[in-house]
């Protein structure tokens, strides 16, 4: 009985910790969708590239802090360039065009590292020790603690940004109606670029944290697949939703792995979130916190 509770608690805590790290990646997706209405299928590849940038910087004998800064700056630059060259020309085109463009972009970005710096897995050690933190029956590795702190920090900052700052309100206005926003004196294109840059920063930190946990190779981009259940659960354009959705997906995964895997021989971790996503789409298509389309009668 007591063992049961200990086991459940351990699953729950590790699920929550992993879940918050999913949120971090989903945040990048949500930022772009919220501000520009573009669905970015290349989010996982962004995370992967950030990891590669950091390991490349490390390989060039840079200290770890400089490598992290390099990854962040590199991702900002990359986001600017991609927004300008790929996304902006598609402004005002059908949603499908943008989706296809980002899928294509994902394939290209995934192919880039093996061509340029080789496909072998690289380690990305963070100087945070490896003494795990024990919480009753749960054991949390230090990387995940950092992940949790970074996620919560970003959540707070972005929530404040969108609700209180003038820039954030302008960004929401752009998302609401681009033409009208333009007539209010808002430089819509500049705000698109800012949104992509913000997503770049989030992806960079996601890439560093996940990269140090899993190692950096092209497999890292698969983390992007977790973004979809997270954002569908939380709502495509909700910052809070990304966090809650991440927590739910993390916990569901961990519980499924803990209780179902022994019976079916493993793998439930990967499909349980998608089952949840499909149920969500049936019953609550805007997610838990997503914006409903307003219809006045």
């Amino acid at each position: 009985m007591w063992d049961e509770a200990e086991f459940a608690f351990a699953l729950l805590v590790s699920g929550l910790a992993i879940g918050l790290m999913y949120s971090l990646i989903a945040l990048g997706f949500v930022l772009i969708y919220k501000a520009t209405d573009a669905i970015n299928f290349a989010q996982g590849e962004f995370v992967m590239l950030a990891g590669f940038m950091a390991t490349t910087a490390l390989a060039a004998q840079m200290p770890i802090w400089a490598a992290i800064a390099a990854a962040i700056l590199g991702m900002i630059a990359l986001s600017f360039v991609l927004e300008r060259t790929v996304l902006r020309p598609l402004l005002g085109r059908p949603v499908v065009a943008v989706i296809m463009a980002t899928i294509g972009l994902a394939a290209i970005l995934r192919g880039l590292p093996p061509i340029t710096i080789g496909a072998q897995t690289k380690a990305l050690p963070l100087p945070i020790g490896d003494e795990p933190i024990t919480l009753w029956s749960a054991v949390i590795p230090p990387v995940q603690v950092v992940g949790v702190i970074v996620s919560v920090g970003f959540l707070a900052v972005f929530t404040w940004f969108f609700l209180k700052s003038r820039m954030g309100i302008a960004m929401r206005a752009v998302a609401d109606n681009q033409q009208v926003a333009m007539a209010m004196g808002i430089n819509v294109e500049r705000y698109f670029a800012i949104a992509w840059a913000m997503a770049g920063v989030v992806s960079a930190l996601g890439g560093i944290i996940w990269g140090s946990m899993l190692g950096v190779d092209t497999q890292l981009s698969l983390i992007g697949l977790k973004v979809f259940p997270v954002v569908i659960l939380g709502g495509l354009d909700s910052i809070v939703g990304a966090v809650i959705g991440g927590l739910i997906v993390g916990v569901v995964e961990s519980i499924a792995a803990g209780y179902l895997d022994p019976y079916v021989g493993g793998g439930t971790k990967d499909f349980a979130p998608y089952v949840l996503m499909i149920l969500m789409l049936m019953f609550k298509p805007y997610g838990l916190f997503g914006t409903h389309r307003i219809e006045r009668v």
């Binding site: 309100i169 929401r172 007539a183 209010m184 004196g185 808002i186 819509v188």
Partner: protein, 264 residues
């Protein structure tokens, strides 16, 4: 203040929608632009506000000047910075923002926080109803409140010229009167130049000082409102009155010929 000189507007490089339109908007007064659907009224406004570019339209001839500075071909947000605000047809508030956030977004070009606060207070003074709704999502406001918000939002940039596109659309007659009265006060007290586009000619001619009538892309009539109200064509086609001034009966207007429908 704002003058449009003989402009021609072409969409998609081929479709000519405005042909030699000229008009003049003066500060402290309401100038109205009347016309039926598709006459080119909204296109004229978009030519001024710079939004034509987003719809693949272009001013190909003529000039638009604000206080003798050329603004045709400028980008929309630069035009706004120079002092022209547009209130869109169908209100177009930012539905997912609250009333107050809509106003903050409207004051985007203001550099100082203080100006925004003052602007918000000014809007609430003109439209006290909005103050009570400040924290509500604007998508759930009533039509009249949304129209007030759309006008208030435009005021936030402290414009010299305000372009009003059919503020009466879909509103109850009493509300229309209320809103037009406020617009009249705004023009007078804030020395605003108002360009009012309307299909509701009766209301527009009641509040405006000067008027233009558009038909298929050109200005066909111009004058101060007294002259326009007395014009027999305006009375007949825009105000629905006959020679004597009484309301016309539909029996006199519609001459349907019954015809067999099953053979044609």
């Amino acid at each position: 203040m704002l003058s449009i000189n003989n402009i021609e507007v072409v969409y998609d490089s081929v479709i000519l929608v405005l042909r030699g339109v000229s008009l003049e908007v003066k500060p402290g007064a309401i100038t109205t632009l009347l016309g039926a659907n598709g006459a080119g009224k909204t296109t004229t406004l978009k030519a001024v506000s710079g939004l034509l570019r987003t719809e693949r339209g272009e001013v190909t001839k003529g000039t638009i000047t604000l206080e003798s500075q050329r603004i045709d071909g400028m980008r929309a947000f630069d035009v706004t910075k120079l002092g022209i605000a547009q209130v869109f047809e169908g209100r177009r508030v930012f539905e997912h923002l609250t009333t107050q956030e809509n106003l903050i977004a409207g004051g985007h070009i203001q550099r100082h926080q203080r100006k925004i606060r003052e602007g918000i207070d000014r809007v609430y003074a003109y439209f006290p109803q909005l103050a009570q709704r400040r924290d509500q999502l604007s998508g759930y406001l009533s039509g009249g409140e949304q129209q007030m918000l759309a006008i208030g939002r435009a005021l936030m940039s402290q414009p010299k010229v305000i372009l009003l596109d059919e503020p009466s659309l879909g509103l109850a007659p009493m509300l229309v009167e209320e809103i037009f009265a406020i617009v009249g006060r705004l023009a007078q007290q804030e020395k605003l130049a108002v360009l009012l586009v309307e299909q509701n000619a009766t209301m527009a001619l009641a509040v405006a000082h000067h008027g233009y009538v558009m038909e298929s892309g050109r200005i066909v009539l111009e004058g101060n409102v007294e002259a326009l109200r007395a014009n027999s064509d305006i009375r007949e086609f825009y105000l629905g009155l006959n020679e004597i001034g009484s309301r016309k009966s539909y029996r006199d207007v519609k001459h349907y010929k019954r015809r067999k429908r099953w053979l044609s």
